[in-house]
């Protein structure tokens, strides 16, 4: 067996603590075969493994019930095949999203994963966590861009599904089952994507959204003739996204496409906003990608140890009702609310913070219970580690939980892979 490559900054077990659980050991296999052998052996020994990519989305899910080994994918970081003329790419799971982006950009292509902290987050982590970004209304979810996948099961079996073609009806598409399973069914080791040509133009448009005209403006936006790639209303996140005024809300649009499309979309938005009484729109062309990256980064950014961030998902048509639920509950629990309301996907990203960290726990625990009573689908995206065990990280248990439990039992009968991390304690 090959020795793992040495790394300058190997994280300590303590740095990989989840809730109150700290792994005994941190391992970084050199390749897929070594990883598979390791997983098989640990599985036979009854040990529990949590896979760690860049650690950027480990805020999701419960703490594991058992946690012997943190398995890092950092050495599985290669681009395996890049058939740019076919618009397909195959990469190892530990490749960072930034490295993927860079490889694709050389050929004028991209895969819109919308991952926060792209420099650290890994392809495998984004897929396993079921990450959903704001551009998915236009381009699809990360799992919609996956055309093939290789995984290692708990018993060490290496199994693939899909392939390197963009259209495929051959056998069960298990990649979609692994996406969003938070490492509880299998360890993702390779993902094949279809790529997209980079848009010729990308532009961010910002406008203020005064509280008193808020709902009127938002209603007007339903009349846009061209769908922006991103259309969100932001309150708070003052320094995180654009450094602009935090008292009033703002609107953030991203347009992507041909130059003429972007120009038309800009005129479209300006005319709709003008009619709604919002005069000024600031345009960002040169820094549009960075501006969008800051928006996405904000989804998981915490305010010291005194904030918790939720994602509430649902239909775009009840977006603002859910947004108001957060506002109302934040007031009644004396928490500050910052929110990103995504008009295209229906997501509400809500960051709740207490003035000082000592006040957070009591308030947020009560808030959490009230929230889940009011809205069925809300997930914690980021919270201080000690709170993990005190919040309903996945909200209410999903329907058909019994089927999910049975799948877990069939794929991982020993409960080796991230036991307890997933919905309903799977």
């Amino acid at each position: 067996m090959a020795l793992s490559r040495a790394e300058p900054t190997l994280p300590t077990p303590a740095a990989l603590t989840l809730g109150e659980m700290t792994p005994r050991e941190v391992v970084t296999p050199a390749g897929v075969d070594e990883l598979a052998a390791m997983v098989r052996e640990r599985n036979e020994n009854g040990e529990a493994i949590v896979v760690v990519g860049g650690g950027t989305l480990q805020g999701l899910g419960h703490a594991p019930q058992r946690y012997d080994v943190a398995l890092r994918t950092a050495n599985l970081n290669r681009v395996l095949e890049y058939e740019y003329r076919d618009l397909t790419i195959a990469v190892e799971a530990g490749l960072t999203v930034a490295d993927l982006d860079a490889a694709l950009a050389e050929r004028g292509q991209f895969v819109p994963l919308d991952a926060p902290q792209a420099a650290r987050s890994t392809v495998g982590g984004v897929l396993a966590s079921g990450w959903l970004g704001p551009r998915r209304a236009l381009y699809g979810r990360p799992r919609d861009l996956v055309i093939g996948m290789t995984v290692v099961l708990a018993d060490g079996t290496i199994a693939k599904s899909g392939g390197m073609v963009v259209k495929n009806s051959t056998g069960y598409d298990l990649s979609r089952l692994y996406c969003g399973s938070l490492g509880t069914l299998a360890v993702i080791v390779r993902a094949n994507f279809k790529t997209l040509p980079l848009p010729a133009a990308r532009r961010v448009a910002l406008a203020t959204l005064p509280e008193q005209t808020r709902l009127r403006v938002l209603e007007h936006l339903a009349a846009l003739e061209i769908d922006p790639a991103v259309a969100v209303a932001i309150q708070g996140f003052r320094d995180d996204i654009d450094g602009r005024d935090g008292a009033d809300g703002r609107l953030f649009f991203l347009f992507e496409g041909s130059r003429s499309l972007v120009e038309r979309a800009t005129r479209d938005v300006r005319s709709v906003l003008g009619a709604a009484g919002v005069p000024a729109t600031t345009l960002i062309d040169a820094g549009a990608s960075q501006s969008f990256a800051r928006l996405v980064d904000a989804y998981t950014l915490r305010v010291g140890d005194r904030s918790v961030t939720y994602r509430s998902s649902g239909l775009p048509s009840d977006l603002f009702v859910r947004g108001e639920t957060f506002a109302h509950l934040a007031r009644s629990h004396a928490l500050d609310l910052e929110r990103i309301e995504d008009m295209r996907t229906g997501d509400v990203i809500a960051r709740l913070s207490a003035p000082v960290s000592g006040q957070l726990e009591e308030r947020i625990v009560a808030f959490d219970a009230a929230l889940h009573a009011a809205t069925p689908r809300a997930q914690v995206l980021a919270a201080p580690e000690p709170l993990r065990g005190k919040l309903a990280m996945w909200g209410s248990p999903p329907r058909s939980l019994d089927v999910m439990r049975a799948l877990k039992a069939r794929f991982d009968p020993n409960g080796t892979l991230a036991p307890g991390r997933f919905v309903g304690g799977i």
């Binding site: 199994a159 963009v166 051959t170 058909s400 089927v403």
Partner: protein, 479 residues
């Protein structure tokens, strides 16, 4: 199963659903014994449920008696996915054909599985919306069947296949329970797992679908080439240049001549191949896109270029393309359609191999395919009354699949595996890969009563004689 238990099974179904919803006469059952691929065995019964409760009752009875359940849409499948292989009950969704809801603000629809694909787009059209996947069978195939096979169509190039459009499902599991699942739920993505599972994991009783906004402008362009390989090179060059139109379709001379005789859409009859390019979007973008694509096409051997902006002209071109297989009935008594995908830059090689294989077996071949996706559909023409030709077609079909796999491709792009290709699945996946897929089936279909003998290789019983293609000519086949 003996006659006594068959009778008992039929009686139980009649008790549960009423005589009106159960067919048991052999004459009535004959129509449920085949699809556009082949004829298998007669089922013990065919049932016409009206809702999920009926389906639940059917599944409970079949589960108790361990009888196979075969869901059936319109029977247009080309791989034997809807044919019963060992009796049991065929569940027809002919009476579950309602659009349950159209949610315009959220751009989604909820439908019963028996709704015809094209009906949904027609229904959504007045609201400026349409449904993306458009298999050539879309005038008659059902959305339930489309979900089962993960159907695609010409526009899969830009809009993706069914799996990119199914937002949620209602399905009946083996214990008869009715499940509501949605992509929006946290937890394992059961919705996506059921798409493309060809009825082997549960019986779908309602589907939530994503709708798309009708583009501001659409144009279809037609380029003529000397041969299919050259046309394919042009397709690679277009996509490789970062231009992804809404559709890129190629027809060879054989197909073009057949459809022109039938539809008179104005295809050039002297061209070795024609390329159909559909561009959609904002009007000023379309002009620029067309110019860019035409330039690349001409640089790569296009002999002529014609564009159709008028709706009637576009529709005539699309009608010809989607009716291509049917038009072959003019030149051959029978044909067999293969479905395979290769990385798009390998298309010229794949087409070259298809041509060689057909010549080796002395078969005439026509090619009409989704070039932009690398999705081939060679049509092998034959006369089924001549046994040696039938054997040649089967051998050639297998060799084509092997050739596509050797080029990095796979054995189905959109038709599914069904009964026909289940043993060929071993060419693509290892035993470990297949065993992993089977784990999902172990959970949802432990008794193997949901559409048995489909998708998964025949295993121990692989000595079974492979079904002979008996494809109907004309309206019965699509690609």
């Amino acid at each position: 199963m003996g006659r006594v238990s068959t009778k008992r099974f039929q009686e139980r179904l009649v008790d549960a659903l009423g005589a009106d919803a159960v067919r048991t006469d052999p004459e009535d059952l004959a129509v449920y014994s085949f699809d556009a691929f082949s004829e298998e065995t007669l089922p013990a019964a065919a049932v016409l449920p009206k809702d999920a409760r009926d389906v639940s009752a059917i599944v409970r009875i079949a589960n108790e008696l361990e009888e196979p359940i075969v869901p059936r849409g319109a029977g247009t499948g080309l791989c034997g996915g809807a044919t019963p292989t060992r009796g049991g009950v065929v569940v027809s969704f002919a009476r579950m054909n309602r659009i349950l809801g159209l949610d315009v603000p959220n751009r989604r629809a909820r439908v019963q599985p028996g709704v015809i694909n094209l009906e949904l787009s027609k229904h959504a059209q007045p609201h400026g919306l349409f449904f993306g996947p458009d298999p050539s069978s879309q005038k008659i195939s059902t959305l339930g069947g489309n979900v089962g096979t993960n159907a695609g169509g010409p526009h899969a190039l830009s809009y993706g296949s069914m799996t990119n459009h199914v937002l949620g499902l209602e399905f009946v599991s083996q214990d008869g329970e009715v499940h509501q699942i949605s992509q929006d739920d946290f937890g394992y993505d059961l919705t996506s797992a059921l798409v493309g599972s060809e009825g082997t994991l549960g019986i779908i009783t309602a589907i939530d679908l994503r709708l798309l906004r009708v583009p501001a402008a659409v144009r279809v362009c037609l380029a003529a080439f000397g041969d299919v390989e050259t046309a394919s090179e042009a397709v690679s060059a277009i996509v490789g240049a970062g231009i992804v139109p809404t559709a890129l379709e190629i027809m060879d001379r054989t197909i073009t001549q057949a459809v022109e005789a039938h539809y008179h859409a104005g295809f050039p009859l002297d061209a070795g191949a024609v390329l159909l390019v559909e561009i959609a979007g904002e009007i000023d973008d379309i002009d620029a896109s067309e110019r860019a694509i035409e330039k690349i096409a001409r640089e790569h051997g296009a002999l002529s270029w014609r564009s159709a902006s008028e709706a009637a002209e576009r529709e005539a071109l699309w009608a010809s393309r989607k009716g291509a297989a049917g038009a072959i009935g003019r030149i051959a008594p029978n044909y067999y359609i293969q479905d395979a995908t290769v990385p798009r830059t390998r298309l010229p090689q794949a087409l070259h191999r298809v041509d060689e294989i057909a010549r080796d077996h002395a078969l005439q071949v026509g090619n009409v395919f989704h070039a932009g996706d690398g999705n081939l559909h060679p049509l092998l023409m034959f006369d089924r009354r001549i046994p040696s030709q039938v054997e040649a077609v089967i051998a050639a079909g297998t060799e084509i699949l092997e050739a596509c796999i050797a080029l990095g491709g796979t054995i189905s792009g959109e038709h599914g595996i069904g009964y026909e290709k289940r043993d060929a699945l071993r060419y693509v996946f290892s035993t470990d890969d297949l065993a992993t897929m089977a784990r999902v089936r172990d959970v949802l279909d432990p008794k193997r009563i949901f559409n048995p003998d489909k998708i998964f290789p025949s295993g121990a019983a692989c000595g079974e004689v492979r079904a002979q293609p008996q494809v109907a000519v004309g309206a019965g086949a699509w690609l």
